[in-house]
């Protein structure tokens, strides 16, 4: 057989794995971390400042929007998810999606049953 002439393939080689998801190890630079860090501090100052202004129903919405933005950049850069394989990205996304599903369904239960003081 033609294959016999081929040298035995080394089993311990990344090239053997046909799964194309295996991303190479990406190193995030200190400069990039510093930019994320500065953005997080700026957002903290912004959310404290915004809380002092009376925006009615928008106060909690803006506070949560800023917190979500901060959370996302921590996840993407400090936690390297931007540079991970699709498996990791989908896992992280699925976790937060599942949490929102649970909150929505539990809340709709409480709202629709007139428990408590609604």
């Amino acid at each position: 057989m033609a294959h016999e002439a081929q040298p035995e393939q080394h089993y311990n080689d990344a090239a053997n794995v046909t799964n194309p998801e295996h991303a190479s190890h990406h190193i995030v630079s200190p400069a990039q971390y510093a930019m994320v860090f500065a953005t997080l501090l700026a957002c903290t100052a912004l959310t404290v400042f915004a809380a002092d202004i009376n925006l009615g129903v928008f106060n909690p919405i803006i506070a949560l929007a800023i917190a979500s933005f901060k959370g996302v950049i921590v996840i993407l850069f400090f936690m390297h998810v931007k540079y991970q394989s699709k498996l990791i990205k989908v896992t992280v996304g699925a976790g937060f999606f599942m949490f929102l599903v649970l909150v929505t369904m539990t809340l709709s239960d409480y709202i629709s049953r007139a428990w408590g003081l609604w």
Binding site: Y33, D52, V74, F78, H80, L87, V103, T106
Partner: protein
């Protein structure tokens, strides 16, 4: 032959001529490649963090629900917290997270001294956070704002007598401030417990980093602890606005 360690030098030599093959000592034989091992590690760490999201998520949901049920009590109680202390702690925790991220970088580029230095800075800022938190807890203790038998509602029933501009609460509504403080202590306490555990692990990582364990290409423990530390950061990033900030301007109703 089923083990990377058992690969003979002769086989290695042949293999290296044909592929760019690097054998690393941390590579376990049940993983086909070091890349697969690394991804499996990250995946497992993320699954653990998802259970943590569900764990803290229950507390966040309880806060969401009870803040709607007992809005006035939650507003009044929430405004007892110090925004400057909360904001300072947010900045401290973000800085701690920044140094943790730099520690991962130092391990990746194999700079042992910098790695140890960044782990120390991460730890110091973690202790600074807990110190401010302890000061806040002590203030609540002095004011009898810890839920339980010695809880004191007088400040919420008659705020003017304490020099506060809050709207006075009826005695039954004022009792509901205990629920706010219960959730405050449960959420920040669980967060603080996670930090205490993290600081313990940081000491262990520092000792191993000092020994040189993580500066020759083996980054996984630093990287996965980094994921944990950043997750604890994210919990606080949400706790700070929800507990300290969003009740500054109560809705009239």
């Amino acid at each position: 032959m089923d083990s990377a360690i058992a690969t003979t030098q002769a086989e290695h030599g042949i293999a290296e001529q044909q592929h760019e093959h690097v054998s690393v000592p941390q590579h376990r034989h049940h993983f086909a490649t070091p890349e697969q091992q690394r991804e499996a590690g990250s995946f497992g760490m993320w699954l653990f963090l998802l259970t943590e999201i569900m764990f803290f998520g229950g507390l966040f949901f309880a806060y969401l629900l009870f803040r709607n049920w007992y809005y006035d009590a939650f507003v009044t109680a929430s405004n007892q917290l110090s925004v400057p202390l909360g904001a300072a702690n947010t900045a401290i925790l973000i800085t701690s997270g920044f140094f943790m991220a730099l520690a991962v970088w130092a391990a990746e580029v194999r700079k042992q001294t910098l790695l140890v230095l960044f782990l120390i800075l991460t730890t110091l800022l973690g202790f600074a956070f807990l110190g401010i938190k302890a000061d806040e807890y002590h203030e609540k203790y002095e004011k009898h704002h810890i839920p339980g038998a010695s809880f004191d509602t007088s400040q919420f029933i008659n705020p003017a007598a304490y020099g506060l501009s809050e709207k006075p609460l009826a005695p039954d509504a004022a009792q509901k401030t205990q629920l706010f403080f219960f959730l405050y202590f449960a959420m920040t306490g669980m967060h603080a417990l996670h930090m205490v555990l993290g600081l313990g692990i940081l000491f262990w990582l520092m000792i191993r980093a000092q020994r040189g364990d993580f500066s020759s290409g083996y980054v996984a423990p630093i990287e996965n602890f980094g994921l944990y530390w950043h997750f604890v950061d994210i919990v606080w990033i949400f706790l700070f606005p929800l507990l300290y900030l969003i009740n500054r301007h109560p809705l009239a109703h």
